[in-house]
Every structure is written in C-alpha cells, then in structure tokens.
C-alpha cells in the first residue's frame, strides 16, 4: 500500500484549470521529485494535497485513509501527519524564529514544552540558525527564512513532507547545507514529495522523478530513466535546458 495515493486529481483557480487528472503513488520512505517548467502546476499540486486549494475532483488517500477535502475533521486528521514548506516560506511575521518553530507543537499538538523546545533548538542548530533564535523574520535573509520554514515543518514530526523549491531563494553557498539536511531526512526514511530545480540533487536523492507540464504528468521514472533516457520529447527538452546551466 502506498503512503500517499493520488488518483485522478483535478484542480483549478477560478476558471483556469491547472491540474488535469494527476495520478501518483508515493511509497513510505520514498522521495519523489516533481520537475517541470514554471507554471506547470507543481506548486498547485502540493497546495492541493494539503487542502489550501480545493480539488475539483479526484481521490487522495493518505496512510490508508481517503481524504475528504470538504470535511473539516478529515482534513484536520490528514494535516496532522503532513507538513509543507511553501515556496515563499510564509513565516509568521509577528513571531521570532523560535516562536515560529515551536508554536504549532506547543499550541496545536499540545506537546510538552521542554521537549518541544529542545527539539526546536536542535533543528535550528541543524539548519545553521542556532544563533538567530530571537530574531524576527524581517531581520533574516530569504535563505535564512527558508531554513526556519524547514525547521518549522520538521518540528511537527510529519509522516509526509512536501517541499516547494526550497533552494530557489538560497545563496549558492547555502544550497549545499540545506540539501544536506534533506539528504539526512531521506536517509532517515522520511517520505517526501519535493519540487526542485536542482537537477543534480534530484537525481541523487529521488527514488522517482515526475515530469510535469501544463498541469499534466508527462512522465514518471527513476532518475536514470528521466535524465538519461527520457521517453517524452518534452522531458528531454526540459532536462536538457535545465542541465545546460
């Protein structure tokens, strides 16, 4: 049984249909990467999975439970075991770094304060922000905010982690650090769905790669299949274009 099963998912913004019949399974401890040109619907897919956008039709099953996006309790239960890092970080501007990371575990999950804080400290240490605990988001660079957002997601101890272009705002010298964190998570068996343009990283860390274009899945395969022997011309064009710079 896959941990996450997406079957015939459709989504739209107002009249614009953005996702067409997306079908994708993610096994437990698998790392699946979404690649594709800008505007192909990668962010929308992640946002729809967590219910920020409502799907117009389709079936999503998470840990053997079929999700009902119109039911508050079903959504709540699903969200309890997932975490997402948004493309624009979306940190709470009125809270410090440590506040951002601890608020949900403390107030929503109602976990023990001592444990939560210890975990938060170690996570922030790991993303290289152990010295910025009391800083506010607007005092941090984009890359630092991105890393806080990662720590905030991990503090929830999710079963499924969705990451949306988490390295696109990073300074080149930080990309490596953040990717190291993700590598570590992959090694530890975290199930992840990742949107990324770092093809080298995608190739290395992914068990499977999904090529998207214009709201559809064009091709799914192992990194070797997608990068070395793509079946579709669109995949070949895209990877060639991205790998060339």
């Amino acid at each position: 049984m896959p941990h996450l099963a997406i079957d015939g998912l459709n989504a739209s913004y107002k009249n614009l249909k953005v996702l067409h019949d997306i079908c994708l399974d993610v096994e437990r401890s698998e790392v699946v990467s979404l690649i594709g040109p800008s505007g192909s619907g990668k962010s929308t897919l992640l946002r729809t999975l967590v219910g920020v956008n409502k799907p117009t039709s389709g079936k999503v099953t998470l840990a053997q439970r079929t999700l009902d996006y119109s039911s508050a309790s079903s959504l709540k239960q699903a969200r309890d075991s997932m975490a997402i890092v948004f493309q624009q970080y979306n940190l709470f501007q009125n809270m410090t770094v440590i506040g951002n990371v601890t608020i949900a575990p403390l107030k929503i999950k109602k976990w023990q304060r001592a444990e939560v804080e210890e975990h938060a400290h170690s996570l922030l240490q790991k993303v290289g922000l152990g010295h910025k605990l009391k800083a506010y988001p607007d005092e941090l660079s984009g890359g630092q905010q991105q890393r806080v957002a990662i720590a905030r997601a991990l503090a929830l101890k999710p079963q499924l982690l969705l990451l949306d272009e988490i390295t696109s705002a990073l300074d080149p010298e930080l990309v490596g650090e953040v990717l190291d964190i993700i590598r570590g998570l992959a090694r530890d068996g975290m199930t992840m769905l990742i949107v990324s343009h770092e093809m080298g990283f995608v190739r290395e860390v992914s068990s499977r790669v999904v090529m998207m274009d214009q709201g559809r899945i064009v091709e799914i395969g192992t990194p070797q299949q997608i990068f070395d022997a793509p079946k579709e011309t669109r995949t070949r064009d895209f990877t060639a274009r991205v790998l060339s710079h």
């Binding site: 997932m82 948004f86 979306n90 709470f92 009125n94 929503i108």
Partner: protein, 228 residues
C-alpha cells in the same frame, strides 16, 4: 453688533456657564468614545465572523456583510430617529443619552468592522494558509497571527473614525441629549448672542477634536515604522 457681543462676554463666561459647557463637552466626548469602544468590540466580532470558512456559517457571514453595508449607508440622523422611536416600544424609560449611545454604537460598529476587516486583509494570505495547514483553528489564526499584525493597520483609521464621530454626535442634540450643541441652543435661548454662543461651541469642538486629530496623525506615523 461687535459691542453687544463684547458686552455680553462677562455675563457669558461665568463659572456656572463654563461648568455647564464643560459637562456638555464631557458628554460629547463620552458619546463618541464609549460608543466607538463598544462599536469596535462588536465590529471586531463581525470582522471575525467574516473570516470564517465553515459552510454552515454562511448565513452569519452574509448577515455580517449586510450589516456593514447597510449601516454605512444610512445617515446618522435617521438612525438616531429610528432608535428614538423604536426604543419607546422596547424600553420606554431609556434615557436620551442611552438612545444616542445606542445610535452611535450601531453606526460605529459598521464602520469599525470595515476598518478591522481591512486590517485583517492586510496580513498576507500565505501566513494564514501556513497556519491552516498546521491545523490552527480560525480563532487561533486570528488571535495568534492575524490580530497581532493587523492592529497597527487598524488603530490609526479606527482612532481617526472615533475623532471624526465627535463631530457627528452633534446630531444627538436633536433628540435632546445635553451635549455641546444642545448647550449652545440653550444658551442662545437664554438670550445670549448667537454669534457668541455658537462661536464658543465651535471653538469647544475644535478644542476637543484638534489635539486628538494630531494624536491620531502621530500614532499613524509611529506605527508605520516597522518595529516589533
């Protein structure tokens, strides 16, 4: 004409008259401040209702929107008369001040709820989405994330509205509340020159309103600077 006014001044600015004016000014200020504070509380509730997403609460949301649209489109004077006549049916013994206060509250609730909503809307949607995904309840989102950021946007126009309403409460004189304007009418009826009495009343309003207007500007500038 100038001579008659000048000759009246010693008789006009007597201690009892000044006390009378002072009390009236107090009542004018009270009407606006108390009415707007209650209005702010109720307006805040309306704005919160408008933030809900639950389909079952849709009628409540529609009612909240209808309230703000309707009561920003009826003159304060008409509200005042409506409350005056309606209250005779519900609570015939209500004081005139209470009638005026209810009227101020009805109108200020509508305007202030709109100001609160604009403040809520000023907080980037993405933060709300992030909180939703972490299973924050609607109320937790408002009081932990939206309100702490929105108050800086809400306070300056909210305060300005209250100061502006000080002037509108002059209409409460019409139902017989002895606030500043009514005091002017009384003094004028006692035979004092209308120039002197209404000139003084205008000045009294100015003295109430101007410093508060300045304070409002100052608040606006202070809060505009990005600090925590």
């Amino acid at each position: 004409m100038i001579e008659t006014i000048l000759s009246e001044i010693p008789r006009f600015f007597t201690w009892p008259n000044l006390v009378f004016l002072g009390e009236a000014a107090g009542r004018t200020l009270m009407l606006s401040v108390v009415g707007c504070l209650i209005g702010f509380t109720l307006g805040f509730v309306l704005a919160c209702i408008r933030q809900t997403r639950n389909p079952w609460l849709a009628p409540l949301r529609v009612a909240a929107i209808a309230y703000t649209e309707i009561f920003r489109r009826i003159p304060f004077l008409v509200i005042l008369f409506l409350v005056l006549f309606a209250i005779q049916v519900v609570a015939p013994n209500a004081s005139l001040f209470a009638i005026a206060l209810v009227s101020v509250t009805i109108v200020s609730t509508a305007f202030l709820s709109e100001i609160v909503r604009a403040g809520f809307d000023s907080v980037p949607r993405q933060q709300v989405e992030a909180a939703e995904v972490m299973n924050f309840s609607r109320w937790q989102i408002i009081h932990m994330i939206v309100a702490p950021q929105a108050w800086k946007v809400i306070l300056p126009p909210g305060f300005a509205f209250m100061v502006m309403f000080i002037k509108d409460t002059a209409l409460a004189s019409q139902v017989g509340v002895v606030e500043l304007t009514f005091t002017g009418k009384i003094l004028s009826n006692r035979g004092f020159s209308a120039t002197l009495t209404f000139g003084t009343i205008l000045l009294a309003y100015f003295i109430l309103s101007y410093p508060l207007t300045r304070l409002g500007r100052y608040l606006e500038i202070r809060l505009a600077s990005p600090r925590h």
